[in-house]
């Protein structure tokens, strides 16, 4: 990947706060989506945002990408508050968009260009990179993700896995310092999902700050060093090292990330918390 863009913001090193989310609440009309959520993200961290459907993960990511703004509380990125007003500033907006990339859950929403090549070039072009550099980056990204054979195809005609790869490529070509991934593996076949997980790990190893919203605990285990759990009450239910959070069955059960599952052992039916986090063998009686 090309070097980080350092335009319009303080240079950040490992350990500095990239995001400071303080007492953030948000509601859609009458329905609450986030309630008093507070946390910090340090540069280079790999964070999983865990939560059941409707817990507010996507809302939080959109807020961290300055696409929506909190009803109360504040989100600061690179030391600057994200607000409609600060994003009106061309310099800040340009720098922020160069530094933060967002892969949407719905690839169809993210793909709108006439060809895969142009889709990937969209970000670098609109972030005012030199045409020569745009071409270089697009070519490199196409190569990394193995999309050579799709270059001239219209993106809305691809399979879900291909669409997801193109969506990711369109963000990677910007080479952002921070990657926000919304349910990156949802609806993908195991091979593509595995590929995306490995790529995410590599990006984190390359120094990117990666924030993954997911309910796929196996993915979280693979890619994240830290995990934050959003409860069904839209509040932070847990925050800590991924291994500790993912080992806390009580917490995961209360956040609806794992579920009770009837098992019969030797003819006796009983329930115990169940997830597919660890390898889980079922006997023949199931």
């Amino acid at each position: 990947m090309a070097e980080n863009n350092q335009v319009g913001g303080p240079a950040i090193g490992e350990g500095n706060a990239v995001y400071e989310v303080s007492s953030v609440s948000y509601s859609y009309e009458e329905t609450g989506a986030l309630d008093d959520v507070t946390f910090e993200v340090k540069a280079g961290e790999s964070l999983a945002l865990l939560g059941a459907n409707g817990s507010g993960k996507s809302t939080l990511l959109k807020m961290m990408n300055a696409l929506i703004f909190p009803s109360s509380g504040s989100v600061r990125a690179f030391g600057e508050e994200l607000s409609e007003e600060s994003l009106q500033d061309e310099g800040f907006s340009l720098a922020f968009r160069r530094r933060v990339g967002f892969v949407f859950q719905n690839s169809d929403a993210q793909l709108f260009s006439p060809s895969v090549w142009e889709e990937i070039a969209f970000g670098p072009l609109h972030l005012e990179l030199e045409p020569g550099e745009v071409e270089e980056r697009v070519e490199a990204t196409v190569h990394i993700l193995g999309l050579e054979h799709l270059r001239d195809r219209p993106p809305f005609h691809l399979s879900s896995g291909e669409k997801k790869k193109v969506a990711l490529a369109s963000v990677l070509a910007i080479s952002p310092e921070v990657l926000l991934l919304d349910e990156p593996t949802a609806g993908l076949d195991p091979k593509t999902a595995g590929f995306l997980a490995r790529l995410t790990v590599q990006l984190a190893a390359a120094g990117k700050t990666v924030i993954t919203a997911t309910q796929d605990l196996a993915l979280a285990k693979e890619v994240a060093g830290r995990a934050i759990v959003l409860g069904e009450d839209h509040r932070t239910a847990g925050d800590g090292p991924a291994a500790r959070i993912l080992g806390n069955r009580e917490l995961l059960l209360s956040a609806n990330l794992i579920h009770d599952h009837p098992h019969s052992h030797a003819g006796m039916e009983h329930y115990h918390p169940h997830s597919h986090l660890e390898e889980h063998h079922h006997g023949d009686e199931h």
Partner: protein, 316 residues
């Protein structure tokens, strides 16, 4: 595997009443809904086809979009000023020739243009053919009333006839529309959409206007995709024949649902564009640069425009 509190009801366990998959030879009627599905996918296909045409290495595709827009605008004005049907016919033939030189199949091009014309010009042209609307020398008399007919205070005359003046006017009008529509179709077929938008910005078309058309274009695709999904989903649940009444209810119901869905998705598309740096200014990689052929094209257009207007004055 049954979960606590969730049990499958008895009726769901039963086999379908008629689980056979044998044919009974009766054909289902194709309904409005099914025809809509094929119409929708046709629209998607043709838009992809248009993008491919714009990417072909033809004559017009190689011309700078700015020059193309200026040139075609000049020709449009010229067409508006010309009264000779022969010159108009010549210009129309010229557009077909240009299409062929731009690797657009003339058959496809002619069909695409003439599909529009009856719809847009028929209503206007038809009444003006007759002496009741536009008095003149009768060419074909359709009905001889034998005496002057009055409709209230309005004198209709003693016959219903197609007049020479009416017919000439209609021919000129239709040719003018055909040539103009041909130029517009040529421009959109030979220019890639983002380039066209970018060229509009060069002519200082307001940014908000360009933004609106670019978003409209995206939304048309979203709408097409969503509508195809909804109609296909309905067809998959439909066993027998639905009555036209049911179809109509479905169509009206789905219009509302479609609007809601496409708005939600549309907002997300916009968010995705903003997220990657879009601020209302469409950017494409092809930097416009004027080459010799652009100047030759511009000169040809200018000479042609002067020649046809001059020729029209001489004939007229």
């Amino acid at each position: 595997m049954a979960e606590a509190g969730l049990s499958i009801p008895e009726w769901m366990r039963k086999k379908p009443i008629d689980a056979g998959v044998s044919r009974n030879g009766r054909r289902r009627r194709t309904s409005v809904v099914e025809r809509t599905i094929s119409g929708l996918s046709e629209a998607l296909r043709s838009s992809i086809f248009s993008e491919r045409i714009a990417a072909r290495p033809g004559l017009l595709q190689r011309i700078d979009p700015r020059i193309k827009i200026l040139g075609f605008l000049t020709l449009l004005i010229a067409i508006g000023l010309i009264h000779s049907p022969f010159i108009l016919l010549g210009l129309y033939a010229g557009t077909v020739l240009l299409a062929a030189m731009s690797r657009i199949s003339p058959g496809y091009f002619v069909k695409r243009v003439w599909l529009f014309i009856p719809l847009f010009t028929g209503v206007i042209v038809l009444p003006s053919l007759f002496n009741i609307i536009r008095p003149g020398d009768p060419l074909v008399t359709l009905w001889d009333f034998g005496r002057d007919v009055h409709l209230g205070p309005w004198l209709l005359g003693d016959s219903l006839a197609v007049t020479r003046q009416g017919a000439t006017g209609a021919v000129i009008f239709v040719l003018r529309v055909a040539a103009s529509v041909s130029l517009a179709v040529l421009l959109t077929l030979s220019t890639r959409w983002p380039d066209l938008l970018k060229a509009l910005r060069v002519f200082h078309v307001p940014r908000v206007f360009v933004l609106i058309i670019s978003m409209t274009y995206r939304y048309i695709f979203l709408l097409l995709g969503l509508a195809t999904d909804m109609f296909t989903a309905r067809r998959s649940r439909l066993a027998g024949v639905s009555t036209p009444r049911e179809d109509r209810r479905f169509v009206t119901g789905s219009m509302g649902a479609l609007l809601g869905k496409s708005q939600a998705l549309g907002e997300e598309v916009y968010a995705a564009m903003v997220s990657r740096g879009y601020s209302g200014e469409p950017r494409t990689l092809n930097r416009f640069s004027l080459a010799g052929r652009d100047l030759v094209f511009a000169a040809c257009v200018a000479i042609l425009a002067v020649a046809v207007i001059g020729g029209d004055r001489i004939i007229g």
